[in-house]
Amino acid sequence: MKRTLPLTIVLGCGIFMLIAFFVPVRWFQDASQTLQTWYLGVIAFFVFIGIFNLVRINVLKIQHKRRDWQFSIFLLIFLAGMLLAGFIGGPDGTVFLYLFQHFQIPLSATMFSLLAFFVASAAFRAFRARNPEATLLLIAAVLVMIGRVPIGVWIWKGFPSLVEWIMSVPNTAAKRGIIFGIDLGLISMALRVILGIERSYMGGKD
């Protein structure tokens, strides 16, 4: 039961969806549409559980007064504020949008922009031409970095066309090869999951 039922579900849903793609008969199309709607609803729970875990871990942190527990209070207050604003005023409510615009936008944009500083320090401390491969990588990177911005044109007129050529010839070729490889890997993983050959994601022994 603990294994057979889940395996039957994955097999049933998977095979049915595959067949429905090729069979334009109404009943098949409607059923596959319904399953897809259910799917959209169910995947929301994956995020709900993540947020539940977030709350749990921070409440524990405050209870046990672990290091930096005071900051967890901030986290929970703002989480609660956002939830209240959203569930009372709706996702287009003024308070919700205000919080979004003046907290979420600057915080998230600034967080990601920190990476600009890290990339600079990594460029100096970590990106070394240790072997021929890394050397090739760094040369291509330098060409693109200079050739893609206006100063590149100022240095040499041919830079933009050189970079465009790198992008559309060697880059395209390699990316396409990599995509083929990754796609094949994913198809075979997907097939194994559907057929129940791959079941490690279920965890557990029973």
Partner: protein, 358 residues
């Protein structure tokens, strides 16, 4: 003579047919016009000499319309009226047309064939792998794994294993877990501490189980400490700062980053480099590979992550699928060569085989 010529040039023709590859719920009406028109009116009737009712006005730029307001099995006649600068132009009547059900979408036959070929290749080799041992080439980053763990042992420092930031339903995380099993065996055998911080609760319980089993397998169940395999937080940046904290406090001698990574790849690799650790990375996220290649000592590129997991586990299922994927690659190479040759000799038919009907 002149008149006939005029009609031929300034005509509008209409054609109606059963929409291919549908469930018999529509008729497609298509038209061609030699004159610019401002709008098109589509008319329909059930008798050839009956009254034609307008059913739809089509926008400029369109040259077909799917009539879905039909009864299956009924015969219809169509006619269209175009408004032009020179007044209304009406087409001849076309029909009768009837909508019917198709059981197989022939427009997708090429997809069907491709899937069958790939499935067959993978399943064939999986079943063969259960009977005989299949060969997988050496993967350089894996040879370095032993050395890296050995180094940590000599220095008396811990090993850090980061299984990516996605959950256990992601193929890359699954692959990462089988590599973790091997890393855990090695570290357990040497008695080296192993930290596995995770970003998902379910990934944590899976990692705990994998590490525990590995410890038991090499006869060191006492080595396993559940608290070293910890769930930090689901949040991307919260997770990274947690992992960074471990790196700065515990100073692991060897860092593994195997699984799904996004923007955090750079922060991890940079911090790890600054602590002087040997770093082995691997991901099938093409966007993050450059940082790993430039900042880590060894990197598993894309599909190599899956291959590494097959190589280490020696599980027939994994080895067999990998072999099946290899056959897929061979087929791709031949198809590409055939396509190029077909282009040279001017055989367009081969090219068309790869178009699926919208």
């Amino acid at each position: 003579m002149f008149l006939i010529f005029l009609i031929l040039v300034k005509g509008i023709s209409v054609n109606a047919y059963d929409t291919p590859n549908d469930d018999g719920s529509s008729v497609t009406v298509s038209w061609e016009s030699d004159i610019p028109y401002s709008s098109i009116l589509i008319l329909r009737s059930e008798q050839k000499d009956g009254v034609f009712e307008p059913i739809c006005e089509a926008r400029v730029g369109r040259n077909d319309y799917q009539d879905t307001l039909i009864v299956r099995g009924t015969f219809y006649y169509y006619q269209i009226k175009a408004m032009t600068d020179e007044g209304e132009i009406i087409s001849a009547i076309t029909g009768p047309t009837v909508a019917s059900v198709q059981v197989f979408n022939t427009g997708r036959l090429n997809i069907f064939v491709a899937i069958i070929i790939l499935f067959a290749a993978i399943l064939f080799y999986i079943s063969r792998a259960k009977r005989e041992k299949l060969f997988i080439r050496k993967i350089p980053a894996l040879a370095a794994m032993d050395e890296a763990i050995g180094r940590a042992t000599e220095m008396g420092k811990p090993v850090l294993y980061v299984p990516g930031i996605m959950d256990i339903d992601d193929p890359q995380t699954i692959a990462s877990m089988s590599i973790l099993a091997k890393v855990a065996e090695k570290t357990a055998a040497y008695g080296t501490t192993l930290y596995v911080p995770t970003a998902r609760a379910m990934a944590m319980s899976m990692a705990q189980q994998v590490v525990k089993e590995a410890a038991t397998k090499v006869g060191r169940p006492d080595w396993y400490i559940a608290d070293n395999i910890r769930y930090l937080t689901d949040d991307q940046f919260g997770y990274v700062s947690g992992v960074d904290g471990i790196m700065l406090r515990e100073k692991p001698a060897t860092n593994f980053y195997l699984g799904v990574f996004y923007a955090e790849s750079l922060i991890l690799a940079e911090t790890g480099h600054s602590t002087g650790a040997i770093q082995i990375a691997g991901t099938a996220m093409p966007d993050q590979l450059p940082f790993f290649v430039a900042a880590c000592d060894y990197t598993l590129l894309g599909e190599e992550l899956y291959a590494a997991s097959a190589y280490l586990s020696q599980e027939p299922v994994q080895l067999g699928s990998l072999k099946g994927q290899d056959l897929g690659k061979l087929i791709f190479i031949f198809v590409i060569l055939a396509g190029v040759i077909a282009g040279i000799v001017g055989f367009q038919g081969f090219y068309n085989l790869f178009i699926s009907v919208h």
